[in-house]
């Protein structure tokens, strides 16, 4: 449960983030801090706005209000609400996976991982012109890309399936491939949207190992949406709980486990307690 290799500097500060869709307030004035090298979990009942927060952080939505400040370990600070679309991944190096897996089904596993290194390879291929002539520098870069892909295939236990179509993989393998693909973009922050959804207990344990490995060996900060409490409680250093777009708790897994507001949000409460807890939560 301890977080190895970490200083306490924040990697991502989400500050007063709100996201409105017409009259619906999906995320309401959310603030939290994800620390560098930590695994931060974002949990909450269905419809709490977790994926909306993810979509704001990864540039798929432009938030209505709020700041998201991403500090790279080595250089530069990025304000994610100003980077839209692919730039969050390209410049700020925030990688993500999707709740409903989005792989390039008709391409091989290896191709999926090489596509993820598009921007590096694009430069190496001289924006296609040098690559078209078959220059050595590009071939070298491509070999390096394949080596990196091979590394992550080994880590995710997919090396034997490297030349198979991504769409032909089993569900658990597809989930792992999506994480491998995200890692191939060299992220500083990895956002995982329900990586354990649909996995059995064994696969879930493997996933825990993989995420711990990424955190330990690559010092990548991870932001995680998860329903599977065995994953959340075992690997996360910090948990943020959302309910109806509002943050209701924020702390270590142990604190969250015993927080009455969280229990109320997840399990509901006895009738006589509704008023009391409701008042506490502020509903």
């Amino acid at each position: 449960m301890t977080a190895p290799m970490t200083d306490d500097a924040p990697i991502l500060i989400v500050d007063h983030l709100s996201m409105r869709f017409g009259g619906l307030i999906a995320v309401d004035d959310l603030s939290f801090v994800a620390k560098r090298g930590h695994i931060t979990a974002l949990i909450g009942p269905n419809g709490a706005g977790k994926t909306t927060v993810f979509n704001c952080i990864t540039g798929f939505y432009k938030p209505t209000t709020g700041l998201m400040r991403l500090a790279h370990p080595d250089r530069g600070v990025y304000y994610l609400e100003r980077l839209l679309n692919f730039r969050v991944a390209k410049l700020a190096r925030v990688a993500r996976t999707f709740q409903n897996i989005r792989l390039f089904a008709g391409m091989t596993v290896l191709e999926n991982l090489v596509v993820a290194q598009h921007n590096t390879l694009m430069v190496a291929s001289g924006f296609t012109f040098a690559g078209l002539l078959g220059l050595r520098t590009y071939r070298k870069a491509e070999n390096a890309a394949v080596d990196k892909a091979r590394y992550w295939l080994e880590r995710t236990n997919l090396l034997a399936r490297a030349d198979d179509a991504a769409g032909s993989l089993a569900y658990g393998e597809q989930r792992r491939l999506e994480i491998a693909r995200a890692m191939c973009t060299d992220p500083v922050l990895l956002c995982l949207d329900e990586p354990a959804a649909g996995l059995n207990a064994h696969e879930s344990a493997e996933l825990n190992e993989l995420l711990k490995f990424i955190q330990r060996e690559h010092h990548i900060s991870i932001l995680l949406i998860e329903h599977d409490m065995s994953v959340v409680m075992q690997i996360s250093d910090h948990v943020v709980v959302l309910d109806y777009g509002v943050k209701i708790a924020d702390g270590t897994p142990d604190e969250i486990r015993n927080d009455p507001k969280v229990i109320a949000a997840y399990l509901g409460v006895e009738d006589e307690e509704v008023e009391k807890v409701g008042a506490e939560v502020g509903l």
Partner: protein, 442 residues
Amino acid sequence: MPDKASHTAPSISVADALKDAALAALVAFGLFFLLIGLRSAQGPTGALEVSTRFTDLAMVVGAVFAGAFGRAMIFGRGPIRFGGEMPSWVAPTLAVAGRFATPALLIFALLVPVLFFQNRYILDLGILVLTYVMLGWGLNIVVGLAGLLDLGYVAFYAVGAYSYALLATNFELSFWICLPLAGILAAFAGVLLGFPVLRLRGDYLAIVTLAFGEIVRLVLLNWQSVTGGPNGISSIPRPSFFGLPFNNEDGGFAATFGLEFSSTHRIVFLFYLILALALITNWATLRLRRLPVGRAWEAMREDEIACRSLGINTTTTKLTAFAIGAMFGGFAGSFFATRQGFISPESFNFGESALILAIVVLGGMGSQLGVAVAALVMIAGFELFREFQAYRMVVFGLAMVLIMIWRPRGLISTREPSLYLGEKKIIPASLVGEARSGGSGS
């Protein structure tokens, strides 16, 4: 293979089959009663008279009855499923045939002018087929690789043709200078089309590209002062053999090489020219597939949102696909202009776009060999059926329907991976994304 049982054991009683057949015959009767059964013709007095053709009607209805009965007895009820139950030897045989098909076709193409030197008709047909092969390969970049359904490809063909014609007639530039210029102008037109359609996918994209094709044609038709309007541009310079004109004079090609003058020399030159242009298109496409930009096209066809999450700029990726596809269309267009010597907007109607798209879809989106075979079958086959006149379109339509039933994703619909660690495994068509409506648009 799903419901294999329904193929092998069609369990249907004769009575049921008769019932089905009777129903089909009834529908046929309703449909053809007015179409075939009654006929209006001018009588001796000049007035319209209605005559009946009930024997013809009975024959057609009878044929439908027999056909429906036979179908019910052989295939049972429900939709007929072809494919999926190929014998085990078919796939390997096809693979072997596929391996030899490419070199065989290439060698054949190289030898055509030697084999058919005396046969001008075959040479002209060969040039026509190769033009469509090149157009198919060019469109294949946009539709097959990038998954952007483009119904206005002929616009770029037109831009290339008019660029060459105008540059050559007004500035007397040679073919070899005009060719790249025409390509660049067509690519520019591609980017111009690309910008407004960046947010569109599938059917919406198809409609806008269709409109773009029509806009270009109408501009060519109405901009009289530049394009000559419906009169087109005539006396476009013929190509020369790197400066040597194909004529009967002393400085001509034949005299320089000590050959007897023959008007076929120019045709042979044109044949090799379009063959070279087509092969360059093919080479560039195969090369681009292995480069990041080509992989990004294919990834975009598979899932655009995932592309964005990986930091791929889908805007420039789409624009490069449009531009490069358009560029090859432009090359083909300038070849068309120099071959014909005369161009007019008539040559660039929607029918051409549809034909090129049909070649790509029929060949299998993304497959180079499939597109070449489809172009050969469609263009040469169309010519062979010329003697059938009116029935040509019927045969053509029937062939299209049958191919779409048997191979709904085209002749060669599997995908070859662009790189591999161990062995190259062919990806089955069912997994490969295609230029379809909806898809993964946001």
